[in-house]
Symmetry: D2
Subunit: 145 residues, 4 copies
């Protein structure tokens, strides 16, 4: 993150969209930030065929990637600076079938040294969202160099 | 998994390599199974530039994908059939820098309905392995149709 | 759980209070069920001196006990029968200081074979609640004999 | 922890036994440290009737207490100072039946700011150990005042 901390949801969203573009892996997969504010994030991911596993569902690694990244953005904006995921846990609760994934995360508890965040991942099929994964993780500030 | 359960490490490895090829996402990323036996798995992943994040490390989503998949293979072979990850948890302990990732997993406790597995992910740089992530997860059999 | 599933919050609460009394460890600690309904639970625990650690806070084991039990009740009522915690994860976010702990849990995703539940644990001091732990876990039905 | 860091397994053990006595909750439950060294710990707990749940097994909260504490000691000795559990995850894999619980933990990855530790909990019945829980957690140094 830059030193200037965004002060509006629009500014956070622009910042996040720029940030995500700097990640080659996020570009490869095609993830988009569709919402960002202090302590809250929403990432969306169109489910192209290459993101599936052998049964036609989104691969678990795709779902966990999106959850992990959404957690990081929720925690990073809560902490007000560049951040990374220290650890997280994810429960898969339903096969991720549909045309898109949406991950929504928020900071549940924010301190000076960590933000504990929660995330739900939904699969969107025919316009209907179904919960497919539930996650929780610890986000920490990136140490200053 | 097919009904015929492999009975040797070689047969497991062939089975696993075939299985991984059926996953479009694993092919996209370039993951390989380099070891497989009852209750044990090793997956390797050459770190091409598109798998990195903005700091030049492997993206966390790549590391967790590899851990998740290694856990599934360790648990699936332990349970003796087609399996999936119910949930898992991962701690990132060091930036994943180098030319390759290697994930090694094993089943720590195997029952009829679940295998609880552990996984370490190593980054290989200049031939030296360094531990970069530590994971634990629950693998369950795929319900028969 | 008995075969007759409670159909009101009052009936759930009576059932839960009876159930908790059958656990010697819960009686030893002094936990109480103060709210119970389908997919929701609230447990309370007065912080007697014997529940503390060396710094005067509630021992982490006390906090995790309460979270674990609240998760089980939320999942058990969601699943509609006797249930147990398959696994859970907890983040401690603040020292648990005060005269009482309150754990509130709910089922975030309920299926036939599992309920994925979330729980917050609060420490109450001078009447004010402060979040001290955040948990997530998997509750499964007890197999019929 | 005191400022003088123990330099032998015997010294660590004495230190740990003294430390555990300062925790009222550990005394209430009756936990004992039966092994301690840099990055390794073993805690034992005789299963008195008051530690059980309604089915005659050790209550999950007792098992998770022991795992949590063993993780903290393994991480604290690895980090070389007073430490606490930031978060942990536990899988219950078998009912804890028997006369004693034994938790063995070790630091899998130790850095300056955290130790990621693993723990197995065994139930001892008629002298035979059976694995009943598998845990992983993050231990951090207690901030200096």
């Amino acid at each position: 993150m830059n030193q200037a901390i965004p002060t509006s949801a629009d500014a956070w969203l622009s910042w996040g969209q720029h940030f995500l573009k700097t990640q080659p892996f996020s570009a490869l997969i095609g993830a988009q930030i569709t919402g960002l504010d202090r302590g809250r994030s929403e990432l969306s991911l169109p489910l192209s065929p290459q993101l599936l596993q052998q049964h036609g569902f989104a691969h678990g690694g795709v779902v966990s990637y999106l959850a992990d990244n959404a957690l990081t953005f929720a925690g990073g904006t809560a902490l007000g600076g560049d951040a990374l995921t220290l650890e997280f846990k994810i429960n898969y609760v339903r096969p991720a079938v549909g045309e898109m994934l949406i991950a929504r995360a928020h900071a549940e508890a924010t301190g000076k040294t960590q933000a504990v965040c929660r995330c739900n991942v939904y699969a969107v099929k025919d316009g209907e969202e179904k919960l497919c994964a539930v996650a929780q993780g610890t986000i920490v500030p990136v140490p200053a160099k």
